[in-house]
Amino acid sequence: MIAQAGVSYVDQWLDGYWLVLVVKAAVVLVFFLTAPLAVGYAEHKVLAHMQARLGPMYAGAFHGWAQLVADGVKFVQKEDIIPAAADRWVFSLAPGVALVPYIVVLVVIPFSDQAFVLNLDVGIFFVIAMTSISVIGVLMAGWASANKFSLIGALRAAAQLIAYELPLVLAAAAVVMQAATLSMIGIVEAQEQYWFVFSQPIGFFIFMVASLAELTRPPFDMPVADSEIIFGAYTEYTGLKFAFFLLSEYGGIVVLSAIASVLFLGGYLGLPGMEAVPGPLWMAAKIGALSFLIIWLRATYPRLREDQLQRASWLVLIPLALVQIMGVAVLKVAV
């Protein structure tokens, strides 16, 4: 196993550049189309039970497991409306721009030392660069909609991204300093002794808070605050385009949970004494646990105000992240 580490299963089994490429792309696409649905369904059910309800119970006969499939079919049937004053091209392109970066990020996420698509030397750098592109899709949507609510929502999303990208990057940078590598697999392998959440709990906290803000998930969902601006940048969207935005939200949860698992929770590494459980299951369990946490936070906390959000980032998270990165640097050099 160790000898082959760093070479993916697909590369070992299949020959031919194009065949390998197609298989890998298909695997990523299938994962991206199923995992967010699972998270979305979990959100329906977890939110419901936290509010003493049952949630979907009919679609698919058993506890409404097919609810999101049914929703997808419904979205396809909806009329595709583009406002008369909208910038048609930008308006139609925006959902794709919001969605694709999250698919691309999946390429570098390792599910074991062999179950991955690509082991980039600059893995985490690539991930952070890609997740930031998504907000451009939101900005495009808001600008092209020719709707004041959409524009306000889009600008809120952009302001939020600027405020929270910094703590996110700083928290990731501290991990990179400790692991001494940018490669996702390298970061996981560096946690053989202990997970980085134990050495950098503050970093983990900052990363999760910044992830929530980056995903515009409650309690940081002012860009879609329905009581103020309807549904923010997505207000004018219908049908499949709207579904793409929803998919990118849930895909974002999966992707950022996966990144947080890799950076802080040892990725595909299991707990000591439980090596029999394969790596992909560990990775899935960690993604699931963090997704549950994100849903749980939504059920618990009310939405922050826009100024509270900015204050929390610039006056609390960023100084905290800087202190933590200095601490890690000192320890790295001293120890």
Binding site: V46, A48, H49, M50, Q51, A52, R53, L54, M57, W296, L297, A299, T300, Y301
Partner: protein
């Protein structure tokens, strides 16, 4: 209007938020682990109190066609038709006239379930019944006739027993 300085409430000093945030997570988790309170209605009968005020039922034999209910009804949803019959007593003498109920219907599309008709009925002919499943596909079908209203009386509970030491009911037939 001057406000007494002492009456003005000042905001409390904010407490550290961390504890409250954790407590909030505890509340949601606790509810997630409890069984939910949803009743799956069409598959599962709702757990209603026995004296639920679902629909107004009519015990026809108690009705004397006094029209009090239909006159008190705020939105005029009660229809009553009756005719007069005269019975010759077997012992002879003047014939006794009585009113016979031909039609008694309540338009539940109009009824606002105020219960005034039940309150004013002097002879306990109208009751609150716990039935509630009488939805129809046409609005005109929501006018239910006395046969249907009679059926609903079968699920009405007997009246509560008198309190200890209360005066005995006046007559045999008194309900």
């Amino acid at each position: 209007m001057a406000i007494d300085e002492k009456e003005v409430r000042t905001a409390e000093e904010p407490k550290p938020t961390g504890l409250g945030l954790v407590k909030g997570l505890g509340v949601t988790l606790k509810h997630a682990l409890r069984p939910s309170i949803t009743q799956q209605y069409p598959q599962e009968r709702p757990d209603l109190p026995p004296r639920t005020r679902g629909v107004i039922a009519l015990k026809e034999s108690n009705c004397t066609v006094c029209y009090k209910c239909s006159r008190e009804c705020p939105d005029w949803c009660i229809y009553i038709d009756a005719h007069k019959e005269t019975h010759e007593p077997a012992s002879g003498g003047k014939g006794r006239s009585m009113k016979v109920l031909d039609r008694f219907a309540i338009d539940y599309a109009l009824c606002m379930y105020c219960g005034i008709c039940v309150e004013v009925c002097p002879f306990d002919a109208l009751f609150w019944s716990p039935e509630f499943e009488y939805a129809e596909y046409e609005i005109v079908e929501l006018t239910h006739e006395k046969e249907k209203l009679e059926e609903w009386t079968y699920t009405v509970l007997p009246p509560p027993s008198l309190e200890d030491g209360a005066e005995a009911p006046a007559g045999e037939g008194a309900a």
